[in-house]
């Protein structure tokens, strides 16, 4: 059938656009307000973003479910998630320095070895399961799932691009850089999405007549002053974890991939 065949491509393109829109919404909000007169409507923004992110998540999960899940991938994902949940559990009890979270390590490695869809599921469901287990279900959960899903997905794309390389060391270097970048990216994305719940600094610092560019400038300054140091820790931690464990973990997952390869086709 024509329609299902192109469904995956459509899904991911639409999600990218919608996701980008939801991401930029806090920046667009002042512009929207400019055309309004009331005050109360800014409060709808978080609900609106949550709904959008929720739908994007649903579409991504449906796509992955119908394209790659079978007894093998379900079992594989399940046990990998349980390890990640345990790691998260330890992390909640003993928080690491700065934003270092070992949870992202396995998401990225799994995506890198098993492909974008697997990485996406690994990312989304890692955050979901650990929220269930640690009692951390909250309004931020859809955002975390979506962002971590993108992390796994992009790790899978990186894997596709780099894994043809015979040089194992080069592969690892690429993954280390990628992991460090995501340390910053995750912080930045979560900031933008979470702030509307607290007290949107973008709206607060917005003054009539400010252009979109100025708003973004302002945000960047704000980000670099508040969150950057925190995220720098996270990025360094991600990179360091990848240096220390990346090679070994890729080796182990590669062996598993060989034994599971009759099932995984993503």
């Amino acid at each position: 059938m024509f329609w299902p065949k192109y469904l995956s491509t459509t899904t991911y393109s639409v999600i990218s656009i919608v996701g980008l829109f939801a991401f930029l919404l806090p920046f667009l909000q002042p512009q929207i307000q400019l055309t309004e007169s009331g005050i109360g409507h800014t409060q709808d923004a978080p609900i609106f973003t949550i709904t959008l992110v929720f739908l994007c998540l649903m579409a991504m999960l449906l796509d992955a479910q119908s394209n790659m899940l079978n007894a093998k991938t379900v079992a594989l994902l399940g046990v990998l998630l349980s390890i990640n949940t345990v790691i998260r559990f330890v992390e909640v009890a003993i928080p690491g320095p700065g934003g270092v979270t070992p949870v992202f390590f396995l998401i990225m490695v799994a995506g890198f070895v098993f492909g974008p869809r697997f990485g996406m599921l690994m990312g989304c469901l890692s955050l979901l399961t650990s929220a269930f287990v640690t009692g951390g279900v909250g309004p931020w959960l859809p955002f975390q799932m979506f962002t971590a899903g993108w992390m796994g997905l992009s790790a899978g794309l990186l894997g596709r691009a780099v894994r043809r390389q015979e040089n194992k060391r080069l592969q690892l270097v690429a993954l280390v850089v990628f992991a460090a970048l995501w340390g910053f990216l995750y912080g930045a994305i979560m900031n933008v999405w979470f702030w509307p719940f607290a007290d949107n600094p973008i709206q607060q610092s917005w003054r009539p007549g400010m252009s979109l560019g100025e708003v973004i400038d302002h945000y960047l300054l704000f980000y670099s002053l508040t969150s950057l140091t925190w995220d720098a820790f996270g990025a360094a931690g991600n990179g360091a974890l990848m240096v220390a464990f990346g090679g070994a973990a890729i080796g182990v997952l590669d062996r598993a991939h060989k034994r599971f390869e009759f099932a995984i086709q993503s």
Partner: protein, 334 residues
């Protein structure tokens, strides 16, 4: 109140009421009501985040401080920070402090409500809300949760096994002997588990749910359009896209739910108290919309000069009604 639906309805009612107002008096009432619910059922919980919920209260001062440092609006100047400080330089006003505290209260009430629900709902309760279309994903999460205790035990076993070989973790790389057996063991278990599941007839979804997927995509696109519309015209026009978008998703979901071919074994019974909880939740949401009420006291804005917030006993009472689970929980077996 036993059914997870009761708690989710309560959570929705809490969020709706809290979200609707910025009046600090109502918000404080809401927080009090939620704390009452929380304290009415002391459950033993070993969840680290559940047991350390007190940090949530720090939301109010943090938010107040942030806003005060950030905003230059308001007439009551407390003191002035030197201008050469980037971003925060300028006058600190009482109004900005108040506005920040208001937002902090909203956040506090929300987080508290979520923490109460987290305390009451088990993982299986959460999973029971997952639509049957997502059966496979629900199974993935169930497996993950089932194997958590086993993985924890495994970590102890591996740590001991490495210790007796003289292993002492010093640097990051020294954790490899602990991490690799854990991962390898898990993958071997996954192979056994997948065979066990296949032997019990677990398979890929019979029909790929492409119609649902398409509807969700279309719905998301419509809602997105609806969000963009106010940039061009009126906010109300956005609803022309948003409402059909939501309807499309809901209808598609209901439709595919019937075709999923999954029958749940465990179905919780709705007790009389649960029905009452659902009813009360609806009342909490609808009460402030009553036509004879004057909704002006819901809005409170400290700028430009701080004023005393108005108080309407109807809305105050509505907020107090949030505490209803505290009274239902005690008689949970009816």
């Amino acid at each position: 109140m036993r059914h997870p639906l009761g708690w989710v309805a309560w959570l929705a009612a809490c969020s709706a009421s809290v979200w609707r107002t910025r009046n600090p008096l109502y918000l404080i009432l809401a927080v009090l009501a939620i704390v009452l619910v929380r304290n009415s059922s002391k459950t033993e919980s070993d969840n680290p985040s559940v047991s350390s919920w007190r940090w949530i209260f720090a939301m109010v001062p943090i938010s107040a401080l942030f806003n005060a440092l950030w905003t230059r609006v308001g007439d009551t100047r407390l003191f002035v920070l030197p201008d050469w400080l980037p971003l925060v330089g300028g006058a600190i006003t009482l109004e900005a402090l108040t506005y920040g505290a208001q937002n902090g209260l909203v956040l506090l009430a929300l987080l508290l409500a979520f923490s109460v629900v987290n305390q009451h709902l088990s993982i299986h309760d959460w999973i029971s809300f997952v639509p049957r279309v997502f059966h496979q994903l629900a199974v993935v999460v169930t497996i993950a949760v089932t194997y958590v205790p086993l993985s924890i035990r495994e970590i102890h076993v591996i740590r001991d096994a490495q210790t007796i070989r003289g292993h002492q973790p010093r640097g990051a790389r020294d954790w490899v002997p602990l991490f690799v057996p854990l991962l390898t063991g898990a993958l071997e278990r996954a192979l056994t588990l997948s065979e066990s599941m296949a032997a019990r007839g677990f398979a890929a979804p019979v029909k790929p749910s492409w119609s649902l997927q398409g509807s969700v995509i279309a719905g998301a696109a419509l809602i997105c359009l609806g969000g963009l519309t106010p940039m061009l015209s009126n906010q109300i026009h956005g609803l022309i896209f948003i409402l059909p978008g939501i309807a499309l998703v809901v209808i598609a979901l209901l439709f595919s739910e019937r075709r999923s071919g999954v029958v749940r074994y465990e179905v919780q019974h709705l007790w009389r108290m649960d029905m009452l909880a659902l009813f009360l939740s609806v009342v909490v949401v609808l009460l402030p919309m009553a036509p004879w009420l004057d909704s002006r006291s819901l809005v409170y804005y400290p700028y430009p000069v701080l004023t005393a917030p108005a108080f309407d006993p109807w809305f105050g009472g509505g907020m107090m009604l949030i505490a209803f689970p505290a009274f239902l929980a005690k008689r949970s077996h009816i």
